[in-house]
């Protein structure tokens, strides 16, 4: 139920004997105008008839929406090789004002010129349309990346043949810096243009 966008106007059993339902968009008919999990609390009578909620964050093979300040995510099956025909989207959404520091821990994708086969793409934005940062493949660790805002989108695609070891990526929230040290930090992004060409593909 942590998934953003999960909105159900029907109360159901949750973990530990509680009953409630998730509301994303507030409305008068459901959730009393509040958002989040509308919790009826622990029910004493366990034979009451409600719907049931179960959320298994590991059921999805890859992708998801992350809001925690720090996390490691992996290619499907890692440390085993990923499969053919994979599509994974990761959306990182941190608190307003925070930035995202992305670091590749392991990286091994099918190598080819232009990264036409299997690749990871980073977008410095809410979606995979704006803010294209780079496309990566091969086995060279891509450089660290700092977002300009509090959101980032990553996607991993593999084609119909040839797989490789996969990857592990870590991100850490960077809290807003005080004015005195800002000059130092902002240089990371302003050099973006120069890194752009070099950082775009695995091959130089």
């Amino acid at each position: 139920m942590l998934l953003s966008g999960f909105h159900v106007c029907a109360a159901g059993w949750m973990a530990k004997g509680r009953v409630g339902y998730p509301i994303v968009k507030p409305g008068p008919n459901c959730g009393f105008g509040k958002t989040g999990i509308i919790d009826y609390g622990i029910r004493l009578n366990r034979s009451e008839k409600w719907d049931a909620y179960c959320y298994n964050p590991h059921a999805k093979e890859c992708g998801g929406v992350f809001t925690e300040p720090k996390r490691i995510f992996k290619s499907p099956g890692f440390p085993n090789e990923y499969d053919d025909n994979q599509v994974c989207y990761w959306h990182i959404r941190l608190k307003y004002g925070q930035r995202i520091h992305l670091r590749f821990l392991n990286f091994d994708l099918e190598d080819d010129p232009g990264c036409l086969s299997d690749y990871v793409e980073i977008y410095d934005s809410y979606d995979d349309v704006h803010g294209f940062v780079g496309r990566y493949c091969g086995d060279e660790l891509p450089e660290d990346f700092f977002s300009t805002g509090n959101v980032m989108t990553l996607k991993f695609l593999s084609d119909a043949s040839v797989t490789a070891g996969g990857f592990q990526i870590m991100y850490v929230a960077v809290d807003p810096v005080s004015k005195s040290s800002q000059g130092k930090n902002s240089s990371t992004t302003s050099t973006g243009n120069k890194n752009f060409l070099a950082g775009r593909f695995s091959h130089l």
Partner: protein, 587 residues
Amino acid sequence: PTGCLLSFSRTVDGTTFTSSIKEKTVARALYAQARAKDKLAGLVRSSALDMENFQTEVNILPGAKVQFELHYQEAKWRKLGSYEHRLHLQPGRLARHLEVDVWIIEPQGIRFVHVPDTFEGHFDGVPVISKGHQKAHISFRPTVAQQRKCSKCSETAVDGELVVMYDVHREKKAGELEVFNGYFVHFFAPENLHPIPKNILFVIDVSGSMWGVKMKQTVEAMKTILDDLREEDQFSVVDFNQNVRTWKNDLVSATKTQTADAKKYIEKIHPSGGTNINEALLRAIFILNEANNLGLLDPNSVSLIILVSDGDPTVGELKLSNIQKNVKQNIQDNVSLFSLGMGFDVDYDFLKRLSNENRGIAQRIYGNQDTASQLKKFYNQVSTPLLRNVQFNYPHSSVTDVTQNSFHNYFGGSEIVVAGKFDPDKLEKIQSIITATSANTELVLETLAQMDDLEDFLSKDKHADPDFTRKLWAYLTINQLLAERSLAPTAAAKKKITRSILQMSLDHHIVTPLTAMVIENNAGDERMLADSPPPDQSCCSGALYYGSKVAPGSIPSWANPSPAPLVPMRAEGAQVLESTPPPHVMR
């Protein structure tokens, strides 16, 4: 612009920089060399919202003159009955001379030219259109006073797109075959045919995340879409969150009463819950398959599934590759699946793969107040199937390298484009035979074209590019190779295709994912590099069709074309044959 970059040049105080296409690694090496010597200015290209941006920086002395020339080529896909040329105009300030000229040269003759108002009436009457038979010119030259946002403002009102729409005459049903210098392009967009009845299933995501504007706009669009169904059409609506519901469990004729009932059903939807895409698509496929097995579908009809979703699966089968497999295993091979991805955080590449491998395309719908009209516009593109099983044949053996030439459907308002090569020494003219099934008959459309006419016509105009047949052929072929590559079963097959793409990019001077453009001055001591954006893995972005290839000489036996005449014939004399199939043809 969208499309392929062909060349870039700039002149700074008399020094000209010109461009060349190099294999990416070579280009990078040249660029690195220049960078090491600190002699470069970067040209960066990036992609956003289906659009490619070019940026260039240059340091100049005060009073110096700088001239930039950017040549690019873009395939225009006919949509909803017209071609559209969009020019982004964002000068950022008032400009003393701001002149935009658009020349249109069309051998077939221009039917209309229209410049819609895209600046909220500010430039009413400023674009001047002059239209002749085969040529048109649009001139947009706002004065400084006209550019001002208000009479005393210093901001410019030129901040948006200038759009030019036009279409050409199409007298010949067999399409226009344009031939030049060993390459031909076949434009096929017949009109005045009876629509083929369609069996259509709307599969609508009503999960919680659709709540609000998205759902409201979807309902609004669906109401007009249902109104537009023809009585011969059969339809139903599947809506899903974690559960799958249907308006009717079977396909129903689109009578006024039925569509009115379906509209009421859709209006009552309250989005909530998870997203079970797998189950919803399998249900839609099941309804179509059942109807087909029971013989309830008109044998001459077209079956479509239209999926509208804004999210990735959260309930049921979550593995995207498994959903793809399930759909592919169950769907019959005459059904086309179109997907509309609503909003920005949809797993769009998944929808794209899902549609492309099931004879359809996906489109992103940018969720806002405009959603309803975007949905309606997409639907209109596939609402009028006019032909099925369209196959393009070029029986002469010296015709080679034909692009995709077999298509499941042809929809009214669009256009199919096929290109190929031929040996001009062996062939004075090109014969084409198109076979297709229309609403009431099997069609055989023949045409003949020779090259002289076009060459003559195009060479007389400085704005025309007589070589466009070759470039369009190369562009289509590279796009199709990229699509083939993503399905290649082995590393070796991929390598082979990669080599072909690279060779073609170098031969035809096109920036592709494997090449880059090096821009340097005559002395070679100042360099820039232009990269291509990541490619759209699906074929021919912007095109409605996902075709396949068949041997270009493989004409169905019943088509029985006339033998290629030995005496050269003029293209104007092309004959159009329509025939009913002989009895041995299965229908």
